[in-house]
Symmetry: C2
Subunit: 437 residues, 2 copies
């Protein structure tokens, strides 16, 4: 009997391969593309405008939108999580879990410190930390403590003095205690139970309830991401993120069961996209069979199957060169390479990807929680220009220029010539006047 | 007889100082602030939407908007500057000017190479150049060849393979030959005579006329900047720039004539903002007198006086500590420090500025054309989170994660615990399945 997932297996040689992949690429693009996939852009704009136009009514607006979107009634003094609530959450967290969290924190801090470029020394440039940063932590009924770790530690490594965490009140009208415990563990005491566009508005424009920040980072749904796009430039923004995706390169050495498990771990994000590119028809077929088997064992299998059918695929290629070409076009957020000892060599040829997971024992979950690099990664095709969030996103540079009398005299005529051709006479005069004494 | 510029001299102690400065800061903010200072945002959105919705009519739309905004009639084959036109411009450029341009290019290339971090080595991160980049070059009747130098060389140092230059056809229906000559000198042969929102739309969404780019950088008016804000995330964007500004710190050692000359060189940008913060009432007064005298000698003095009256000021502070505090709040694009041998020490205390010009012989013009750092700098208060454009803006990083069987076994239980607390069962399963063999 045919299985409803059978349709996701396609061949590179099939005439509809480019259509299928093209359609997927379109949907990837659509998720971030201006004017497409952002049906609520004008609604988001209206909310932001309300905050700009009613700067004395910010607390009321926050309460109003929190009721509309999160169905929670809050008074102004309830937005900020009280110190006692943070302490209590930390005190009551499962000790084994806290131990795991502490090791994850150590791993992330080590990696971020090692890749930090803020100590770069050159007389013509100086790096300084951004002063005040807002972190968006998604808040479904389950907590996302890993997002606090993956966003706040890079900021701390960079030397950010003030870190603010916002998360919607989706867990019993507050934020899940594990998320609060992680904030407390990291010494973050400015935590607000607000989310969505209204949180971005409050962080951007500032008010009596929350002081404005200099940069906003972190994941979120379309209400958060569209708002982040619209306030870019008024504050700093890390990147605009869409649904999470994985692309797995699997040659004949790949273990089909593991490949299928990794596809499912992405699809469970719902929406999440999981693609496999393989040079082996046999492996591709086996991955599909494993997928059918394993999908039955996970909790929300109906939604996951739907997600796999729409946003996923297993594609077979004639050879690795063709495959790699498509991978670079695809520009995956997460790219797994399960190709035995060939994996590293393939990784060298990848031009565009958010994160590359090399070999059989590096599933995406290792990066999500543990290895060190942030799990806040560029989605869609944005790894063509965005980078994973890192400590380097929390500094800014200042150029330093210092000329003395002799040095300026040598180049004065050149500068005057360049200024005059641009019609900027006063620029030329500012050089000339210093040659007169 | 009182001079109309007298009003720009204010004291830190005057009750209206904070109002004056506050008003200025508001206007700085307003220039970049969402919903304020962007009266044409919806018009810009409509233009962008037109390009998204009419992907087969892009050439027509470009022609239509070029006629509307630039009053130039172009056919589709005229958008791109022909190779012969680039060669001719280069052949005919004044030889002395070319020599100055070549030295400027060498200075910029040296600096950008020295501060480039793309060769950073760490097993967990890899930097790669962005593949295709668009550079916006403003095109009034005067050419801005320096913008080509300041944007294209950082891209070349980073290893960008495809560089596209766009500039509006404001010089005899084309682009000024000096700008074209600089493009040719730098080996850039993809140059289009288009500007404004329509150029951003074409570069972002791509079409038969121009292939889409991965990142757009460079200065421009509100039509360009607002469009850049709205397409952020669909493509990479460097920053959102408003009018240019200088803030000059002048103590009793400053030369009032030079300070005034530097204010004028900023004000001639029209709009441009020029502020002086001084600890000396005497110097402040002398700067004002110099300003009145020198403004008479520059070409467009009426506009410059208007600009100085609205967007500029000379403020006197009781002491240097108070002054520096305000400087860090002000967050200048260009910050000059003309305080004799104290200049360097003051520079150390600056937290927020796009570029710092230390000492009497470092006017802004040195940075605009010559010293090495890009003159594309964060304006408004955005130096709190944006950096000067540099070679580091033309790379993106990929995280690299590689675990083996033993390494994964050690942390498997931790990762499973962290995944399960987030309710992500399939994530946990992707680890567990690898522990079973």
């Amino acid at each position: 009997m045919p299985h409803e997932l059978d349709q996701i297996l396609i061949s590179h040689k099939q005439p509809d391969f480019r259509n299928r992949l093209g359609k997927f690429l379109d949907s990837k693009l659509g998720l971030s593309h201006f004017g497409v996939g952002a049906p609520n852009r004008h609604t988001v704009e209206e909310i932001l405008d309300k905050f700009v136009e009613n700067e004395n009514r910010v607390a009321e607006l926050l309460a109003e939108y929190t009721w509309t979107f999160d169905k929670v009634k809050l008074t102004p003094e309830q937005f900020r999580i009280r110190k006692e609530e943070l302490e209590k959450a930390h005190k009551e967290i499962d000790r084994k879990l806290l131990k795991s969290i502490r090791q994850a924190i150590e791993n992330v801090r080590k990696y971020q410190t090692e890749i930090f470029i803020g100590n770069f020394k050159h007389p013509g440039i100086r790096y300084t930390p951004i002063k005040r940063v807002g972190i968006c932590v998604p808040g479904a009924s389950a907590p996302l403590p890993s997002t606090v770790i993956m966003c706040a530690i890079p900021a701390q490594v960079a030397g950010v003095k003030e870190i603010v965490v916002v998360s919607p009140p989706r867990y019993e009208g507050s934020i899940h205690p594990v998320t609060l415990a992680v904030c407390h563990e990291l010494g973050i005491d400015e935590v607000y139970r607000i989310g969505g566009t209204q949180a971005i508005a409050a962080l951007t424009f500032g008010n009596k309830t929350i002081k404005e920040v200099d940069k906003i980072v972190g994941p979120g749904n379309q209400w958060v991401q569209t708002a982040k796009q619209l306030v870019f430039g008024t504050v700093g923004i890390d990147s605009i993120a869409g649904p999470s995706e994985v692309l797995i390169i699997a040659n004949e050495k790949a273990n089909p069961a593991w490949v299928a498990a990794d596809m499912l771990s992405q699809a469970e994000h719902n929406p999440g996209c999981a693609f496999v590119f393989s040079t082996s028809q046999k492996v591709a077929g086996n991955v599909l069979e494993e997928l059918k088997k394993q999908v039955e064992q996970i909790s929300r299998n109906k939604e996951t199957i739907a997600c796999l059918k729409v946003h996923s695929g297993i594609a077979v290629f004639a050879n690795m060169d063709d495959l790699i070409k498509e991978v670079n076009e695809f520009t995956a957020e997460h790219l797994e390479i399960q190709c035995g000892e060939q994996s590293r060599e393939i990784a060298e040829k990848i031009e565009n990807a958010g994160a590359i997971f090399i070999g059989d024992y590096s599933p995406v979950a290792v990066g999500d929680y543990w290895a060190g690099p942030s799990h806040t990664l560029p989605t869609g095709i944005s790894a063509k220009f965005f980078s994973p969030l890192s400590a380097n996103d929390f500094i800014k540079s200042t150029s330093i220029i210092e000329y003395d009398k002799e040095k300026l005299a040598v180049c004065a005529e050149d500068i005057i010539r360049l200024a005059e051709i641009e019609g900027l006479d006063a620029h030329a005069k500012s050089i000339r006047i210093r040659q007169e004494d």
